[in-house]
């Protein structure tokens, strides 16, 4: 881990303890979430990770954004596949999720729901990111695709990592009636 990140996490931890002392539990929760995300982001860069660990961080990220946006969106996770024995590219799903959530920063996020799924079917495992709610997903996805150009946690970079590890056409993006944005990541079980 980078030294600067170590220092940053250390300082964030100090601040979170200070927040507890001051009874600022929401602050403490956000700091803890953010620290966790940062730690995950920086600890496995360029590697493949167990899908469950990515799922765990996805949950943390969503919780963080829930705190950030004062719980103005719903978040759900469902797993039918065994994510503990499956490897996926680091930040493969997080890359999409974090960028899309960030792109929703300035939107109204009316009745926004985020669903993350992991389903096993016929020798494949499909991870899904489903966004439903407002009528802005076409625009949002287009914006998200352009966001963080050149960065590790951008959509093109995440796509590249999937392609590198599992081959072409492993990601499907579906936008329906501007209300639904569905992104499916397919992993063939060996």
């Amino acid at each position: 881990m980078e030294l600067w990140l170590g220092s940053l996490l250390k300082e964030l931890n100090s601040i979170s303890r200070m927040a507890i002392l001051e009874n600022a539990f929401e602050t403490e929760k956000m700091l803890r979430s953010y620290s966790k995300i940062l730690k995950y982001r920086w600890s496995h860069e360029g590697n493949i990770v167990i899908a469950s660990s990515e799922f765990e961080v996805i949950k943390t990220l969503c919780e963080f954004y829930q705190s950030k946006w004062h719980k103005t969106f719903h978040f759900e996770m469902s797993q039918s596949a065994d994510t503990k024995s499956l490897f996926i590219p680091h930040y493969g799903i997080m890359g999409y999720l974090s960028v899309i959530l960030e792109s929703l920063e300035n939107e109204t996020r009316d009745s926004l729901q985020v669903t993350v799924t992991a389903e096993g079917m016929e020798g494949h495992t499909v991870f899904g990111l489903l966004f439903t709610g407002g009528e802005y997903f076409e625009k949002i996805y287009s914006k998200a695709q352009k966001a963080k150009q050149g960065l590790y946690d951008s959509i093109p970079a995440a796509e590249e990592r999937w392609t590198k590890n599992f081959g072409e056409n492993r990601i499907q993006v579906k936008i329906q009636d501007k209300h639904h944005l569905e992104i499916l990541f397919t992993v063939t079980q060996s």
Binding site: E2, L3, W4, L8, E11, L12, S14, I15, S16, M18, A19, L21, E22, N23, A24, F25, E26, T27, M30, L31, Y34, W42, E45, S67, K68, E102, K148, G150, L151, Y152, D153
Partner: protein, 503 residues
């Protein structure tokens, strides 16, 4: 003749000079001899004539004296006067004979013979006057006018008068006879004078010509040497040597100069090789430095790429706002401090920032440290200078403060303290960081000093900025205008001072 000239050119300048001097001396000597010979000949002719004139003049004087002696004899019958008179007459004969021998014209000879006859008569009259004077001596000095000796005496005077007249006549004739000779002598004198002037002119012209020729010759040699030296000094051609025919001295000079050139070429060759080597080394060093700078830059760029500063600061801001909403003032302040510190951290390492900015960053950093340590840690920043006007490399103070905290204070039981003092004295900026930590050993101080002295630092593979990097960047920016002072005492603390001499 040409061989002679070539031979002359090959001998030494000294010999050439001596030769030319001898040549000039011979020329002047020959001219002087000729003039003297000419003059002697003229003088000889003159002396013969002058001797002739002198003898006549002498005769003339003797006759005048004869008159005086005769008067004494007539008056006193003085024996000495008698004797002198007789001697004078004898001498007159001799002189007259000599004049006769020198005489060239008939007229003169006739007059000389008449003069001799008159001299004989004068001699007879003198003897007669003596005899009559004795005979008619009255015992007194009184000359009696009616006496016989007086009559003879008067006749003698008359003869003397006639002798002098004849002598004058001889002199006149002599002058007339020698007029041509006198004119010739005069002409000779003029000619001699002209000849001397001519020869003097020749000698002067010859001397000047010689001086000009010789000086041109010598300066020509020197100019040629200078020209060749200049050409060699330009270094247009490699290993050029001086080659010049000339006197022995020039040959020796060129030979020595060529030896000197050989030494210079040899040294030059070595120096060139050394310079090339140094240049190559410095180029390699520079390249290495560039690579390292690029590496560092790329590391930071990578860092910035990876963490997405916008997202980071946005997040920190959201969290701090949450803390504020929850009335967690300390947490809020710490979040702000962390955010500011991170903003500073993500600046380009190569950039220089105003001292004010650096101090703001360090105060945030110390505030964060203080939050972590609580009452266990105190800090102060005191600055007496205009912090906006002075620029220093970013992250100059933080690594030193971090070092002081980590190695001096963090682990100690007693209350830790870090004081930062910035002051300006005598056009120098002093940045001092004091900690009351455990202090450093001599080896540790030496190690820190060594790290600060380096001008070429290996950044390693991490985007971390340490003491070495501080020294490297300060040395790079301020060159020899930066000095470091590290003083440490066990269990008392350490003072780290950076002196920057302001322009």
């Amino acid at each position: 003749m040409r061989r002679m000239i070539d031979l002359m050119k090959s001998v030494s300048i000294r010999v050439q000079l001596i030769f030319f001097s001898v040549l000039m001396s011979c020329m002047i000597g020959g001219i002087a001899f000729f003039v003297l010979h000419w003059n002697a000949k003229a003088l000889q002719n003159d002396s013969e004539y002058m001797n002739y004139i002198f003898k006549i003049n002498k005769l003339y004087q003797i006759q005048e004296e004869n008159g005086k002696y005769l008067y004494q004899v007539v008056k006193t019958l003085d024996e000495e006067a008698k004797m002198n008179l007789r001697q004078q007459i004898t001498e007159s004969y001799e002189l007259l004979k000599a004049v006769e021998l020198s005489s060239v014209s008939v007229d003169s000879n006739v007059r000389i013979r008449v003069t001799r006859y008159l001299l004989k008569r004068f001699e007879n009259h003198v003897e007669e006057v003596i005899w009559l004077r004795k005979f008619e001596d009255n015992g007194t000095d009184q000359v009696e006018a009616d006496s016989s000796y007086y009559v003879i005496y008067m006749e003698s005077l008359d003869i003397l008068s006639r002798i002098t007249t004849y002598l004058q006549e001889i002199l006149r004739l002599s002058v007339e006879e020698n007029r041509e000779f006198i004119e010739k002598a005069s002409q000779n004198n003029k000619r001699l004078k002209n000849l001397i002037i001519f020869f003097v002119c020749i000698v002067v012209v010859a001397s000047i010509s010689f001086c000009i020729f010789f000086s041109n010759y010598v300066t020509g040699l020197i100019k040629r040497i200078a020209s060749m030296t200049k050409k060699i000094a330009k270094g247009s051609e490699k290993h050029e040597i001086m080659s010049m025919a000339g006197p022995k001295e020039i040959q020796e000079l060129t030979s020595n100069f060529n030896q000197l050139l050989d030494t210079i070429y040899e040294l030059n060759g070595k120096a060139e090789e050394k310079v090339k080597l140094e240049l190559r080394l410095s180029e390699e060093k520079l390249e290495k430095m560039k690579v390292r700078e690029l590496l560092k830059e790329s590391q930071l760029q990578g860092l910035q790429t990876q963490i997405n500063p916008h997202f980071l600061f946005n997040t920190l801001n959201v969290i701090s706002m949450t803390a504020l909403l929850e009335n967690a003032d300390q947490a809020y302040a710490l979040m702000i401090a962390l955010s500011k510190f991170m903003r500073h951290y993500l600046k380009k390492v190569k950039s220089n920032v105003p001292l004010e900015e650096e101090l703001d960053m360090i105060s945030q950093y110390l505030y964060i440290l203080k939050a972590r340590m609580g009452e266990q840690f105190l800090y102060s920043i005191q600055c007496d200078v205009k912090t906006k006007e002075i620029k220093i490399p970013v992250f100059t103070l933080q690594p030193i403060v971090e070092n002081a905290f980590k190695h001096g204070i963090e682990d100690q039981v007693e209350q830790g303290r870090i004081d930062i003092r910035i002051k300006e004295r005598n056009r120098s900026l002093y940045l001092s960081i004091y900690d009351n930590g455990k202090g450093m050993t001599k080896e540790e101080i030496d190690s820190v000093r060594k790290k600060l002295r380096v001008h070429d630092v290996d950044f390693g593979d991490q985007a971390h900025i340490g003491i070495e990097n501080v020294g490297y960047r300060l040395n790079l920016v301020f060159e020899n205008r930066v000095k470091y002072y590290v003083r440490s005492s066990s269990r008392k603390g350490t003072i780290f001072t950076i002196q920057i001499i302001l322009e």
